[in-house]
């Protein structure tokens, strides 16, 4: 770092600023009365001829002086800053400079302009060159004629869609989305069990297309995904369909503009699309979980590109995160090993009993009609359907309870071979009642547009529960 001038008056200015031009004629007076250093951020000819006038072409001095406005007048003595003022304030300038009568002919006050160091794009560049943020990821230099988007594809960093090339400037901006340190280690990413720093998360979030403000949600999602109970390793390598699905609750969803309404499970919302994708890119790039290699999915599901949405919270139904122990007013993510979306079209049920039976019938299809306590499921209830329950005074818990009752089946129907179908639960269940879902294996969230008597089942991994994956909820630390 260049040493800052000491025992001197410092003026930082730029030609582009009318207030700087206003004070320019005073600078010779300052120079006549003592040592002065004048730094111009743009025009090398600013204050030409005045001793101590310098062009801060690289903006390094402005950066180290933390200049936010121009003109800034600073007095430094004995290695310390004594005082500074921004813009033109006659009294301040007279006091700091010790020159009585300075600028008496000028107006008493004129505000300054923004420092060039803070212009978009420049601030990150200066931080990288002169700042204390240390990025430690390996730098990959692409060929001069190489398109950076193509370079990312060719290096295998993409899920098949274009990624945003992770330049140091973009990664630095992404890191501004959190107060945590770039070198913080967040855990081991399966399948390779590679250590993942916060910087690697930021790099993959850049590539996924995230905004910096999404970082707290991405970090909470990764935190949840890396828990033992969630079992990310199994999810990413299974021959079955599942991938990590993220349900967001709380004020953060609105703050970052997530979609919980029309087309909540579909395309078109940047936060929904890129947060889920960032998690999958971390799995791919840091963990090495790539399809056809460790990811052995027979068919997969489009949700493995990205699967993230927010709950359309309603005062009459307890939000998912609060059902799962998060305090009211906090934000949280719930990770679920999700497969695909199966619609439930019921445009005729007007009472909760009929609609619950309708839901139960559709939920029975998870994995296979003849399987029980295998895959978990998320039931996504649309606003028009939820209204049927809410108006009848059914809270979410009541619907869940009714569904659990409806989803008990005679073992004789479910056992292998019954109905002429070899698939089914073991013969030992023939004289028992078989619940469709394990206790805690059915989650209910409210989401969707305000028109449409449609809800949806999102089936979980058939290896749900302690044997495979349990849904995990973590608070988002904003």
């Amino acid at each position: 770092m260049t040493a800052l001038p000491d025992n001197v008056l410092i003026v930082v200015a730029k030609r582009d600023c009318p207030t700087c031009e206003l004070v320019e004629p005073l600078l010779q007076t300052l120079a006549d009365s003592g040592p002065v250093q004048i730094y111009s951020q743009d025009d090398p000819g600013f204050a030409a001829g005045v001793p101590g006038a310098t062009h801060d072409a690289s903006l390094e001095v402005s950066f180290h002086l933390n200049i936010e406005f121009v003109p800034t007048l600073i007095r430094r003595a004995n290695g310390q800053e004594v005082e500074r003022t921004y813009g033109w304030h006659r009294e301040d300038w007279q006091r700091i400079s010790g020159v009585p009568g300075l600028g008496e002919e000028l107006p008493a006050m004129r505000p300054g302009c923004g420092s060039k160091t803070l212009e978009p794009g420049i601030a990150e560049d200066l931080e990288l060159r002169f700042g204390s943020t240390r990025l430690s990821a390996r730098q990959i230099t692409t060929g001069d004629a190489e398109d950076p988007m193509e370079a990312c594809f060719e290096r295998g960093w993409s899920d098949g869609l274009p990624v945003v090339p992770p330049t140091p400037e973009r990664v630095l901006r992404m890191l501004r989305g959190t107060d945590r340190r770039p070198d913080e280690e967040l855990g081991l990413i399966p399948p390779d069990l590679s250590p993942c720093t916060l910087e690697k998360v930021a790099i993959n979030a850049v590539m996924a297309g995230c905004k910096p403000e999404y970082m707290p949600v991405v970090l909470a999602s990764l935190d949840a995904a890396l828990t033992e109970e969630f079992g990310l390793h199994g999810i990413l390598c299974t021959t079955m369909f599942a991938g990590p699905m993220i349900i967001v609750n709380g004020p953060v969803a609105r703050a970052i503009g997530m979609n919980s309404g029309a087309n909540a499970l579909g395309q078109g919302n940047r936060a929904n699309a890129t947060i889920g994708r960032a998690l999958q890119l971390i799995v791919r790039n840091v963990g090495g979980g790539r399809p056809g290699e460790i990811d052995r999915a027979t068919l997969g599901t489009p949700g493995k590109y990205t699967f993230c949405f927010a709950e359309a919270e309603d005062s009459d139904w307890l939000p998912l995160a609060q059902e799962r122990g998060i305090r009211e007013g906090a934000s949280a993510v719930t990770l679920f090993a999700g497969e695909g979306v199966q619609g439930i079209v019921d445009q005729k049920s007007r009472d909760p009993e009929s609609l619950a039976r309708s839901f139960a019938l559709s939920l029975r299809a998870v994995d296979h009609y003849k399987m029980g306590m295998a895959g978990d499921a998320v039931l996504v209830v649309s606003p028009e359907h939820s209204r049927v329950f809410i108006e009848a005074g059914w809270p979410k818990a009541r619907l869940l309870q009714e569904l659990e009752t409806l989803l008990q089946f005679p073992g004789a129907e479910m056992v292998a071979g019954a109905g002429g179908i070899a698939e089914g639960v073991p013969a030992s269940f023939a004289d028992k009642t078989v619940p469709k879902f394990r206790p805690g294996g059915l989650l209910i969230v409210r989401a969707g547009g305000t028109a449409g008597l449609f809800s949806a089942v999102i089936a979980g991994w058939a290896a749900s529960g302690p044997v495979g994956s349990i849904p995990v909820t973590k608070e988002v630390m904003v």
Binding site: A137, Q139, D144
Partner: protein, 94 residues
């Protein structure tokens, strides 16, 4: 200099930054070799001789020709070669 020419590695950095060339095949037996004539004069002389020597080794050979050496190969030709052969030899100069 392209402003995006430095990228930060998103991976666990367990493989080299410079991408390795594909490994040479341990043996030519059972492989099909494509000979691509880029349509520069006398390229065929070179490739005819390679053809003779490969056939003498019992390697099967397929011949292809680019319409002109001044442009990259048409996509359809590249796809055809990639689908039909294991290795490609081309003569780059006259």
């Amino acid at each position: 200099m392209n402003q995006n020419s430095v990228l930060l590695d998103p991976t666990a950095e367990t493989s080299p930054a410079a991408r390795a060339l594909l490994a040479r095949p341990a043996s030519m037996i059972g492989k099909t070799v494509g000979l691509l004539d880029i349509s520069k004069p006398r390229g065929d002389v070179f490739l005819d001789r390679i053809d003779e020597r490969l056939q003498a080794m019992g390697v099967s050979v397929k011949r292809y020709t680019k319409p002109t050496f001044t442009r990259v190969a048409p996509t359809a030709l590249k796809q055809q070669i990639a689908a039909e052969v294991d290795l490609v030899v081309e003569g780059l100069a006259d």
